[in-house]
């Protein structure tokens, strides 16, 4: 029974994915040396996401599996996004109003130095 379901991908696909992954690694290294401002981060993470998707979809066969693993994977990414978004909602807005805090505004300066100022 299980044989009917298993999806044996042709060797070609694996080699192709492998080649794309290597090329994208080269690209991401090259791009890192070009100054794109904040876009550097976006590009680097974009390429990483692309590579990760290839691995998940083809090497891990998610593309060919039933809907449940797909749903689980999406849920996992959603939860990760929730964790990062809501934690960063704190860090990104902390400086919006003046608060009595010794952190983050005094980059690289110790508490003692702050006290002296």
């Amino acid at each position: 029974m299980s044989q009917n379901e298993t999806h044996v991908l042709p060797l070609k696909i694996y080699l192709l994915i492998f080649a794309v992954l290597l090329v994208m690694t080269g690209v991401t290294v090259q791009v890192a040396y070009v100054d794109l401002g904040f876009m550097n981060t976006v590009v680097a993470l974009g390429i990483a996401c692309f590579k990760a998707s290839l691995v998940v979809l083809y090497f891990m066969h998610l593309r060919y599996s039933s809907s449940l693993p797909k749903l689980f994977w999406v849920a996992g990414l959603l939860w990760l996004a929730m964790l990062i978004t809501f934690a960063m909602s704190d860090y990104l807005t902390r400086q919006w109003i003046e608060q009595p805090q010794g952190w983050a505004r005094n980059r690289g300066i110790s508490i003692e130095q702050v006290a002296k100022q």
Binding site: L83, A87, S89, D90, T93, W96, Q99, G102, R107
Partner: protein, 550 residues
């Protein structure tokens, strides 16, 4: 009245069942049977419950008098820390899921076992190892950081056995993850033919939601504990402001797990209450689908509100506003459940057996606990009552009044299935009443104390708080007695209780269709499900049927 009264012949136990199929210590310690593993959990969490209770006794005894005379401040810190740690990580979180969920989920879905029996046994051993580490920490002199391990108490300024305790919690986390993973796969893949999602008992839905939290939340706690361990051992400043670190980051990671962990405790209890209310009202549960989805909604929303523990921590006010706003949303699915249970009771043929008394207690106490939670979720109010006894009272109404009441209801409801014997009903009702009274006497005064401004976690307090504190301690004594009574009569009933028969409550659900105690394989033939979980007929029809079938 008790369903046992009847003109039928006394029920017989099956000749062979999971308890007598093999004997000896080995047959228990190496068992792969989910029912036996459930009982292993039941025994171990009972030990932890008694241990945690002893710490509570010390706390309440100290607080009888305003002066810090019984315990020193440091000892008192250790007492409340160990009380919280043991009760949260080693009793409440595994209580209903790992003990009763383990026992019941395969029975309820008509499976022979969980999907991964070996993992199940492993998770118990992991739990025990984690527990031993924590006990080791107690022997080492205890921990005084509070169960939350806040940095810098747990890192820069730690002066107690933080490392051993943290390792204990870290290890126990794996046990929780394995249990959750096992439940998710089992509920997805092992349901009996005909048992569609919307025919599942709500107990199973609740455990599915609980498992999601265990699987998605616990690893973040693991990461947080790893970072604290690095900080603790090397002093590298991950959470040390002197070196640029942010102690609040720890709180983010910690509460990302630990707030949803509250729902790990309460959701299974809600599942129990749904079963019990429906059974003892002899009525179909009202709004089945809504209750099922509200469990999932609580699980998801529970992950979005963790910042309400950090309103006064130095977290951004804007983030606080978002977290406060979202916290109110959790009230919606919780209220939906309470209203649906009430609607189920309406015009039901209600009998006040012991499980039902606990379930009714749950509804009242959970409502109080939930509503006071809304006070605390309001930014401005929280600034005033933060770290006072108001908070202590609130979460005890949820964790003890809610989660523990549900646990007691579950133990009594399924005890006949677990042991094959009935407990003395009169004692059951009496102790339920004692627990309810003792609980309220213990914790209601604490709302007032907190509102008056008594801070938590101090071993001494001003004289004017004494009356309320004495009331609280008196209530705690009654509560303690209330918990000891069931412990005694349940153990007694294992040997001397009357035989229960396979369905003493005339309840619906697959677990009642097999014998009590069930055979190792749960069912002699795989059951075929043709109706929903709560197909209670109208009361008069039920009686005739009951007389006929027995």
């Amino acid at each position: 009245m008790s369903a046992l009264t009847g003109e039928d012949a006394p029920p017989q136990a099956p000749r062979q069942h999971y308890l007598n199929v093999t004997y000896g210590v080995r047959s228990w310690l190496l068992t792969l049977d989910h029912k036996r593993i459930g009982l292993l959990y039941l025994a171990s969490i009972t030990v932890f419950f008694l241990l945690g209770g002893m710490f509570a006794v010390m706390i309440r005894a100290e607080l009888v008098t305003p002066a810090g005379d019984l315990l020193q401040a440091e000892t008192y810190n250790k007492m409340f820390t160990m009380h919280g740690l043991v009760m949260v990580f080693f009793f409440l979180i595994p209580s209903i899921p790992a003990a009763l969920g383990n026992f019941l989920i395969p029975l309820m879905i008509g499976a022979r076992d969980l999907a991964f029996p070996r993992l199940n046994l492993l998770s118990w051993y992991v739990f025990i190892v984690g527990g031993l580490f924590t006990l080791f920490a107690v022997v080492q002199g205890g921990v005084d950081t509070g169960w939350t391990f806040y940095t810098p108490y747990s890192s820069t300024y730690s002066n107690s056995a933080v490392a051993a305790t943290a390792v204990g919690v870290f290890i126990t986390g794996f046990s929780s993850v394995l249990t959750g993973l096992n439940f998710i796969v089992t509920i997805h893949k092992m349901r009996a033919p005909g048992l569609t999602w919307f025919r599942l008992p709500l107990f199973v839905w609740a455990h599915y939601a609980t498992s999601l939290i265990m699987v998605l939340g616990t690893p973040v706690l693991t990461a947080a504990v790893v970072l604290v361990a690095l900080e603790h051992l090397l002093g590298i400043g991950i959470f040390d402001p002197k070196l640029g670190g942010d102690p609040v980051l720890f709180q983010h990671l910690f509460w990302f797990y630990s707030h949803p962990a509250v729902y790990i405790m309460i959701l299974p209890s809600m599942g129990v209450v749904s079963e019990v209310i429906s059974c003892f009202s002899r009525k179909r549960i009202f709004g089945y689908k809504v209750i099922a989805f509200s469990s999932l909604a609580i699980a998801v929303l529970g992950f979005l509100v963790w910042g309400h523990h950090m309103f006064v921590s130095g977290q951004s006010v804007y983030a606080g506003m978002i977290f406060s706003f979202l916290s109110f949303f959790v009230a919606i699915p919780s209220a939906i459940k309470v209203f649906n249970w009430t609607a189920t009771l309406y015009k039901g043929s209600i009998s006040y057996d012991t499980p039902m008394m606990y379930a009714m207690g749950f509804i009242g106490l959970f409502t109080i606990g939930g509503l006071t939670g809304l006070f605390l979720a309001s930014l401005a109010v929280d600034v005033h009552v933060h770290d006072t006894y108001f908070v202590v009272a609130h979460f005890h109404y949820i964790m003890v009044g809610g989660a523990l009441m549900g646990y007691m209801a579950a133990i009594h409801f399924w005890w006949p299935k677990i042991s094959g014997r009935m407990y003395p009903e009169g004692w059951g009702r009496f102790s339920a009443l004692v627990i309810f009274i003792g609980f309220n006497l213990t914790f209601f005064p604490q709302f007032i104390l907190g509102y008056l401004g008594m801070p938590r976690r101090y071993h001494a307090y001003p004289d004017e708080f004494q009356v309320l504190n004495v009331m609280s301690t008196a209530g705690a004594t009654i509560l303690g007695v209330g918990y000891l009574i069931p412990l005694i009569y349940l153990i007694w009933s294992m040997r001397y209780g009357p035989r229960a028969g396979s369905n003493p409550w005339k309840a619906k659900g697959l677990e009642w269709e097999t014998t009590s105690p069930p055979p190792t394989e749960n069912f002699l033939t795989t059951p075929l499900v043709t109706e929903e979980a709560y197909a209670y007929a109208a009361p008069d029809v039920e009686e005739q049927e009951g007389a006929r079938v027995g």
